[in-house]
Point group: C2
Chain length 410, copies 2
DNA sequence: AGTGGTTTTTTCGAGCAATAAAAATAATGC
DNA sequence: GCATTATTTTTATTGCTCGAAAAAACCACT
């Protein structure tokens, strides 16, 4: 059990965290600016900053000229994260691709390696060995980072176990089963965190759009799968860390279309690319889903629907209906002010909006609160990476850096 | 904006809160016991307790004998809440009844008044005046409480507005519209809080069953309505305070049975008493719901189903199916370890369990995590009152008492 | 009644962090 | 050079928790 007691140590940790968070979201700033943002007194900022400087967590920037308009008074010295203070290794694992990134403490991308993943990848090697290999690659290519490497963070699709140590189910072949997080942590000697891709989307959009930073947003990914991340007033929910928000596999129609997960009637089975394709080509909905849909095929389907093609339109109508009823059911439990569609399927929002809003209109919550704002955001890669990055760096801030005792240096 | 800065003041507030919370859940205790539970040092307990004693928040109890087995050493002096330190007025408003209770700071019921509510009640008087009248009654009957009255807490059914200041929709006739919370707060000079009944059920069961105190539980009320409260690891969620978890009005079947709320296909329209009745008697599902179902009528329906009556069994099957799919959809977003059915309908759990579990079995989450424990708890009045009581007293602890400066007395 | 043992509670001094106010610093403008 | 302006640091004070030691309160036994 962790101590809940509040003492001078926890005070320092909290206030250090406040300063780090301000630097994280506001970039390099003067001490005065930090005092304003955090609410701490100038004296405290100075004291804490002195600690951070001697600990080589932050560094003073020689401000080139005076970017702000003011020309009088003592010029401010900006303070920002020292880039080499820490590094994190980020792995974005997808059905057919791995993107490994090395990022420094200030959030700058240092190195990136992309490799393809096949259905047999995890038959030939264990997830632990797979990640370890790529970690070694990153380390080899940037030796100076090895020392200060703090975290390995992995983004996957699927259902995580309750502790976030492994994957219970995933569309990535042969990934489920082993709780590779523990192994990887042991072998690398680093803290390893596992994240649901859908949740990271929510985290990422929160960081990419300042307006959404403290808003309540439901981010729905539509592509080869359907997933959702929720951020409520700036807090990402759905079981704290590691847990399930399986929006794509929420039941839409009992005994309905066959889903990739093996169940029937999931939202995904209607709204993911393979679902729309199946409906549009009048393939029976109990037919086993196509393993992968080429991007062009989906795109041409969208274009046909936009051109008025009946079959294609029908496919997107059913998809919109599934998304719409799913959202209406989600809204019975949550109450986000924005709904953001991302991923390839977001491109088809105009084709689905009618059915989505019709479905929402049948719900009590929407008839009272009104239909929430629904908008599309086409690029999904950036939010996932950004979400993984910011979540990981914030975790380093809070867990590793803010808790440093004042006599320790890194 | 509230200051997030941590200073010695906030330390004291937090630790006072820790002690108050320990007393709240553990009853009168010795200082040593409190040190163990809270993790604070004996010295701090003494210091804080001295403050609390001079502020007349707590008092030392003359321990009658030694209840614990130990017979050696200096006997412990128990410390407990001083009953007259504060009072709270609790109003449980139902479709046909108001229960007004006056409770002292130690949680003891001082006075209770029950009055009936009719569909015309809020045509004849405003909610503000209605509550004010009953508040005056309570005050008149216990004059000594007037001074120390701290809160008015109201439990209602329906959808609250985002700030928790009023009701946007309610099955209680003519209650919706005016944000009476603000008015009532102004006229009474007290802090007024409004709570969704379903959420209080979750809070109440949490306090009534120590095993559930820090567990993740979904509490489903089944009766004249269907509602749900969620507590995740001891935290009640669903939009912090005030917000919507309208489980009963989550859509079950598009364009389905007519619900009391005017929408079609809500879970409630199948699983609330009127829904089961309608199905069992083969009344068309678009028929307007009966305004109220007598308890005996529902009970006899249960008995007929238990005896094997086809029509009644069918009614409960459909109800179970609606509940089951609703839960399966909820589980796509949350992941509670227990599901607790309360209210009159919990009595019929054996009749519905088959359909509920069949519906859950079709969901991906359940096929991976297993079907959560579903159990019934028949009495629903006690959890609601207990939830309202504990939530309100805890709020007084945190907001009013823990924040008292050390030189202030009450 | 007196004494030793045991447990609970209080007292005391050290250490730490935050704040307000004053002082120091580093530029500009005339 | 000197006043002005804005930023940063220093100083004195306050309030908190904690560990250790002291005090208090009771029992048991002689």
């Amino acid at each position: 059990m962790t101590r809940n007691v509040s003492d001078s140590d926890s005070v320092r940790r909290l206030n250090r965290g406040l300063i780090l968070a301000a630097l994280r979201s506001g970039g390099p700033q003067s001490r005065t600016a930090l005092a304003g943002v955090t609410g701490l007194s100038h004296a405290s900022i100075t004291a804490i900053m002195q600690d951070l400087l001697t600990q080589r967590v932050v560094e003073e920037l020689t401000s080139s000229g005076r970017p702000d308009g003011r020309m009088r008074g003592r010029p401010a010295t900006l303070v920002g994260f020292r880039r080499a203070a820490a590094y994190v290794a980020l792995f974005e694992l997808d059905v057919n691709r791995l993107r490994a990134s090395l990022v420094d403490y200030s959030g700058v991308l240092v190195d990136r390696i992309e490799t393809s993943v096949t259905p047999t990848t995890f038959q030939e090697t264990t997830p632990t060995a797979f990640f370890n290999d790529h970690l070694d690659n990153l380390r080899r290519r940037t030796p100076k980072a090895t020392q200060a490497l703090r975290r390995i963070a992995i983004s996957v699709q699927g259902i995580l176990d309750r502790e976030g140590c492994g994957v219970k189910w995933s569309p990535i072949a042969h990934l489920a089963g082993a709780s590779f997080v523990t192994d990887l942590a042991q072998q690398s000697g680093l803290q390893v965190t596992l994240h649901k891709r859908g949740r990271l989307l929510a985290e990422g959009t929160r960081w990419l759009d300042p307006n959404l930073h403290d808003a309540s947003v439901a981010t729905v990914f539509i592509g080869s799968t359907v997933a959702m991340g929720l951020s409520l007033r700036g807090q990402i929910t759905g079981r704290g860390e590691g847990g399930a928000t399986e929006f794509g596999h929420m039941n839409h129609a009992p005994n309905g279309a066959l889903c990739r997960c093996g169940m029937r009637g999931c939202i995904e089975a209607y709204a993911a690319d393979y679902g729309v394709l199946r409906t549009s080509y009048s393939v029976p909905e109990t037919t086993h889903p196509a393993p992968a849909v080429p991007a062009q095929q989906y795109e041409s389907l969208v274009q046909r629907a936009e051109a008025g093609d009946r079959a294609a339109t029908h496919g997107f109508n059913l998809a919109g209906r599934a998304i719409g009823f799913g959202l209406s059911r989600m809204l019975a439990m949550f109450d986000p002010s924005h709904i953001l569609l991302v991923g390839p399927g977001a491109r088809a929002l105009p084709l689905m909006r009618g059915e989505i809003e019709a479905a929402l209109a049948t719900s009590l919550v929407c008839s009272i609160n009104g239909i929430p704002l629904i908008s599309a955001h086409l690029d999904e890669k950036e939010p996932i990476f950004r979400g993984l990055l910011m979540k990981t760096l914030s975790s380093v801030d809070e867990t590793d850096i803010a808790a440093l005792a004042s006599n320790v240096s890194i």
